[in-house]
Symmetry: C2
Subunit: 468 residues, 2 copies
């Protein structure tokens, strides 16, 4: 009998542990040894759930953990926590590992290496940015630290004194954290350099989010360039300073997005894309490497609409990547064909969704397109709870191919983007979309679903522009 | 200048008035005279909204009217209410019209005829079925009559006496009416001949609806063959009699579904399908007729999954048909490619959806298939309000092509069927569906959307069955 092969996984979260679990499903311990190396102390948790933990919707951090270290170990996955990899040696098939004793480093050989090193939050090199009271929200430990700090603040202050929080960055994490802090009773200010919050939307749609945030009592300052975090006498953050103003804060949260954590890969000469993420083939092998795989937030993904690779940190992609990698290492066959750029978020009762390309992305992909925006309703107009829903649609000039959809509305708005996500994947034209057989009943939709209304308008626009 | 052509529309509701409006958008009154003939007194109303009017969610019937007769007339559409067509003469291009004076009938010539005669509710020829207190809910006038009757019942009875309603038929209308009557404080019994309610679902999924209806306090008697409606001394319905029991009722509602209203078309020799609906080409012309069009509940539609025509009475199809017909008569070009059989409904907080084929439909279309059923969750498990969601999926043997999806769950379940509706339209395989880029965030979905969970399981099933 042949000796077991060894699969080494770096990063024991979504992509890494999905890969490990799936490989284990397909191959027993006698055929495949699996070693997972994790810098932190947790496995397989939902980083996307952290805002809801902070906001109090989730009371136990344990609920965010899909699988504990023990559960992985029970399935014959050797898991080494608080273990850092300090060097990759792809050519000799080994990685250098530093355990709890920083002095002792050893080489660990692999037959298959899975890079699932995730992403790190952006932390601009500003004065005071590392002061106590300034928090990232990328890991469970970050969440714990923030929560402890909030509880301390809340205990220390008299109940009637206003609690103030500043969130730097008005992207997904930023707005979700704004909601969380509002729910804890904070006066929240969100600062963003851009013209509108949610730069994952076009500015006209971002403006709708801006207006809604104002109505929710979230002060949203756009065009704000943060220059420093000011500290009090004890060195603790007390205000965020911009070019124009100083925003006092009991607590500061960083919501500036993330970058792929690929320092090791870069040092080892592995191929990285424009965003610094690992480049893979469709089977999730690192390009040009037979036995090195990468997935999750450290990898770039193929955008099926623009034809380019992009960096999109999203747990749902990470899990799919892990599934594909584990299947392939386990001797099966699977591919990850790419993404269409779907994302959905909410801030209080506002739902925000997008898929495909923004105007700026379409232009930079060399596409010529028409855009339409419609205001429709989440339900039949006469049905209680019907709320306005704004849908923006981009379609390619001449071909009429759907290029992107953005939706801002209340209940029922967010997941409607899935209609467009599937249509994008299938390469449908907006004309084809006008006859889609979508679910209709008064509690669920007007007679013409808002997505169909937009498709009709876009198709008409394509026809009108068709002669040029 | 050529004399204006005349477009005659029979039936001034969804399909008919959409066609009239769209034709008018494209051609002015000087080019096209439009005459719409309506047997009743209302135009362009939402029949699907009637249960919500009865239930009190909609207080003003006027809210169900999208466009009044006056609004149509303002747009140069000649509308004749309370006007019945008694005969079609396709070869001579004319229809026989009876106005308010039943003695005087006249012929009205047409260049284009639009048949939008709708559907009539099934009313089995049982003793007592026409007694006062037995109500259909197809038209606005039906709704008015039922509501008057309910209000009279409620006024006549002491407040503490139980009010009892029996609904015959547990399809969409039946369950929606059950909810409406529960909301008015009635004890509701729903009777259905079938093994489970909602025969638009497979029996295993219908059982979930059955169980949920029981929990809502709706008595649901399946396998019940109604033999008569028993009347009191005044001749008013007092109970529904089945082979096994007698169910007392202050009011009886018929929810047995509808059949196409195509008596005139049949008499005129126009082509009808197996369900008695008019057969059209893709431009919605009645087959073999250059200038006769049909749409809405009186027409059959092509089922893109089975390749057969079916009768599906649904406002959303009717509006699309009207749009297509009006565009073509107006000199444009449009087609209605067909449906995939999507339907969505709710009873209290239970959402029920389906698209594509049931097991029985797939088998009778000659297809061999695998089925899977999964129980997943509407949101990330840790997010408040996460509720179980059952998804059943059918995929074709060998090819793995998606054939159908049924979903039963709470909030967020119903419109998820749109994902499958688009995938069916695009001819996707369940394997392709496993990598769909659907919207993910904890308030909206688990990491793997329930539809993806079902697709993964179905794809595995197709692979396993693939060698046979």
């Amino acid at each position: 009998m042949a000796a077991a092969q060894r699969m080494v996984v770096i990063g024991a979260n979504a992509a890494g542990m999905s890969a490990a679990s799936q490989a284990r499903r397909l191959k027993g311990a006698g055929d495949l040894e699996i070693v997972a190396l994790e810098r932190g102390g947790h496995t397989s948790y939902s980083a996307c759930g952290i805002p809801y933990w902070i906001g109090g919707d989730v009371t136990d951090a344990g609920d965010l953990i899909a699988r504990t270290p023990e559960q992985h170990r029970e399935r014959d996955i050797e898991l080494r926590l608080h273990t850092e990899v300090t060097e990759l040696d792809p050519d000799r098939g080994r990685v250098r590992v530093r355990g709890s004793d920083p002095a002792s480093e050893t080489w660990l050989g692999f037959d298959h290496l899975v890079l699932a090193t995730g992403a790190r939050p952006l932390r601009p090199p500003l004065p005071g940015i590392d002061a106590p009271g300034v928090h990232g929200v990328q890991t469970l430990d970050d969440g714990r630290a923030l929560l402890d700090d909030l509880e301390k603040t809340e205990t220390a202050r008299p109940a009637d004194a206003p609690r103030r929080a500043v969130v730097i960055g008005a992207g997904y994490i930023g707005v979700e954290m704004a909601e969380a802090l509002i729910r804890r009773g904070y006066r929240v200010t969100v600062l963003d350099r851009a013209e509108q919050p949610m730069t994952t939307l076009d500015p006209d749609m971002g403006r709708l989010v801006h207006e809604a945030m104002c109505r929710m009592g979230i002060e949203t300052v756009t065009g704000a360039t943060v220059t420093a975090v000011a500290a009090d006498r004890d060195g603790r953050a007390r205000a965020v300073v911009t070019e124009d103003a100083e925003h006092e804060a009991d607590v500061v949260v960083l919501g500036l997005g993330v970058r792929p954590e690929t320092g090791l890969a870069r040092a080892a000469g592995l191929p990285l894309g424009d965003s610094g993420g690992l480049l893979t083939d469709l089977a999730m092998r690192v390009r040009g490497r037979e036995n090195i795989w990468a997935g999750g937030d450290c990898a770039e993904v193929l955008d099926l609409v623009s034809g380019r690779t992009r960096h999109i940190a999203l747990g749902t992609h990470a899990n799919k990547h892990g599934q594909v990698i584990g299947t392939n290492i386990g001797g099966g066959y699977a591919t990850f064909p790419g993404v269409v750029g779907t994302a959905v978020s909410k801030v209080c009762d506002l739902e925000i969704a997008r898929t495909g390309l923004l105007e700026s992305q379409a232009a930079s992909a060399g596409l010529r397109f028409v855009t339409v925006t419609v205001e429709s309703s989440s339900r039949a107009g006469y049905y209680p709870g019907a709320a306005p829903m704004h849908v923006k649609m981009l379609a390619e000039h001449r071909t009429g191919r759907l290029l992107g959809v953005q939706i801002v509305g209340r209940e029922g708005a967010g997941k409607r983007v899935d209609i467009a996500a599937v249509a994008l994947t299938a390469g449908m034209t907006v004309e084809q979309m006008t006859s889609l057989d979508l679910g209709y009943a008064p509690p669920f939709s007007p007679l013409w679903d808002p997505v169909l209304v937009a498709a009709r308008k876009a198709a008409a626009q394509v026809r009108r522009a068709g002669t040029h």
